[in-house]
């Protein structure tokens, strides 16, 4: 149901009322924004000195030339993307393996896989990252670099979320498909590989891209363990330029542009899948369920 069916097509009076309401709320909104502007202004957050670093290279009193973008933002963004891409690849592998394991007909595979998936979905990523970063040395005898603690932490969590998404995606492929495949004499692994996974994959593609947004956002946890990603580099730059508030605003904008683009891609993929008719009601429900968990996953909800 689309939202605009909640109310009648506005008649003359409703149009006037909506316009009045629009105006009232617009004024309130602007007043609110102006209030925010003023309170930032009262603490000198809009001064050129604080915004200059985003537009030009600044020469520090020591004579050093520093540029926000080339020295901090771009290397930081590369760090973010590197961690996100690596974690996503591992998470996909983890998700595939564990969704297959959870669909296994052998109890001794199914049950432990289920325990692992439930465990990693319930443990906060930050806890995993702290464990690896601060405790890794004691457990593995070697210090785990921040990059790997972020990647491993994100892999286990997002891999578990993807495992559940894949599982419900595979379960949602109409039963007739696998029945037909079995009757053609295919064995289980063939049915999985040739019939179920390809069909589930198309409906799962938007879910995967949405999960990428989660991974990308969560790389910001690397900030807390000094992995040089966008947040940390931005924060370092704000220490050099003394402009925390403007820097956070610019960082937020960078994240929003990237993630909004990814969300758009997910949306387009979903529309294409819908148009091609690869979805049916049950796969749609599975995709919706998986997407709902997009912000951080739910234990025992999907499936």
């Amino acid at each position: 149901m689309s939202a605009n069916l909640l109310y009648d097509h506005p008649g003359p009076r409703a149009r006037v009322r909506n316009r009045v309401l629009s105006l009232v709320f617009a004024v309130l909104l602007l007043a609110g924004l102006y209030g925010i502007y003023r309170s930032f202004d009262s603490t000198d957050q809009w001064t050129w000195q604080k915004w200059q670093p985003f537009f030009q290279t600044v020469t520090l009193p020591g004579g050093q030339e520093v540029n926000f973008w080339t020295d901090y933002a771009v290397p930081g963004l590369l760090g973010t993307l590197r961690a996100a891409a690596t974690a996503m690849l591992f998470a996909l592998a983890f998700g595939l393996v564990f969704s297959a394991a959870r669909l296994s007909e052998h109890r001794w595979i199914r049950v432990p896989a289920g325990v692992v998936v439930e465990f990693f979905r319930a443990v906060p990523v930050l806890l995993m990252i702290f464990f690896l970063s601060y405790g890794g040395f004691w457990v593995f005898g070697t210090l785990i670099e921040p990059f790997w603690s972020v990647v491993i932490g994100l892999t286990f969590y997002n891999g578990s979320v993807l495992a559940e998404a894949f599982r419900s995606g595979i379960l949602a492929v109409p039963k007739g498909q696998s029945e037909a495949a079995y009757s053609l004499g295919l064995v289980k692994s063939q049915v999985m590989r040739m019939i179920l996974v390809p069909q589930a994959a198309r409906t799962m593609l938007p879910v995967i891209v949405s999960q990428l947004v989660v991974v990308l956002k969560d790389t910001a946890l690397g900030y807390i363990v000094s992995y040089p990603e966008l947040m940390l580099e931005g924060s370092k730059s704000s220490a050099v330029f003394g402009n925390a508030v403007p820097t956070f605003m610019v960082l937020a904008m960078i994240y929003i542009v990237i993630n909004a683009t990814l969300t758009l891609v997910a949306h387009l993929l979903k529309r294409r899948a819908d148009r091609r008719g690869v979805t049916n009601t049950s796969t749609k429900a599975a995709a919706a369920n998986a997407a709902a968990a997009g912000l951080g996953g739910g234990v025992g909800v999907a499936g």
Partner: protein
């Protein structure tokens, strides 16, 4: 396991999880209220409100929570001067709650909106035919039906929120992940035991919540 036989360490563990519960409790309530309002904005006939709702969702859904919470401290508190209490720790707690709620509300809003989309067309049309206004329609017909299919996603959101509460540590709120870090730094040789205790506490807290919500969702589900 003898790390936890030291009363000071045990206290650190208990305090950490109490803080997680306090953060989650307050943020859940605020996020639900705010999310409901935002969802109402997003489906309302007033374009400005629709834009406001959409703007909020896009802003918070695409920004890392770490950044949101840091901004609450350095933007809201330091720069704008929003102060909840003279006591630093109480103030930090509410700043974290503000960040967590604002962030989570965006997800609550989207969950409710997609819940609204599951209510069959005929319901809204029948309500309009009876002459119900937008607010009556939403309040009496749509939301009560939508809430049923929102229960499952809301469960996921509450669980995610509980885990996200650990990020409050970034502005110095003494929550569980900070306690764990402190314990590991003091007793590195017992890292595995420390991690196991903290991780399993989260599992013990969250797995029942997950199953509870899905049982509730199944009971409330409208069979169509």
């Amino acid at each position: 396991m003898d790390v936890f036989s030291d009363p000071a360490n045990l206290q650190l563990y208990i305090d950490g999880f109490l803080m997680i519960l306090k953060l989650t409790g307050a943020s859940t309530l605020l996020a639900l209220v705010l999310g409901l309002l935002l969802a109402a904005c997003r489906v309302s006939p007033v374009p400005v409100l629709r834009a406001f709702g959409a703007g909020w969702v896009h802003l918070f859904r695409n920004t890392p929570l770490t950044l949101v919470i840091l901004f609450c401290f350095f933007g809201l508190y330091s720069a704008v001067g929003v102060e909840f209490s003279d006591d630093l720790h109480i103030n930090n707690y509410w700043l974290a709650v503000t960040g967590l709620s604002a962030y989570t509300a965006a997800f609550v809003c989207e969950a409710i909106r997609s819940g609204i989309n599951t209510v069959p067309l005929g319901q809204a049309e029948a309500a309009r035919a009876l002459g119900l206004t937008f607010t009556q329609n939403l309040r009496l017909i749509i939301l009560p039906q939508a809430m049923r299919s929102v229960v499952a996603p809301l469960g996921s959101i509450v669980i995610a929120l509980t885990k996200n509460a650990t990020i409050a540590g970034v502005i110095g709120v003494p929550e569980a992940s900070n306690s764990m870090k402190t314990l590991i730094e003091a007793r590195g040789d017992q890292t595995i035991a420390i991690f196991a205790v903290f991780a399993l506490t989260f599992v013990a807290l969250l797995v029942p919540v997950g199953y509870g919500f899905s049982a509730l969702a199944n009971r409330l589900m409208v069979r169509r």
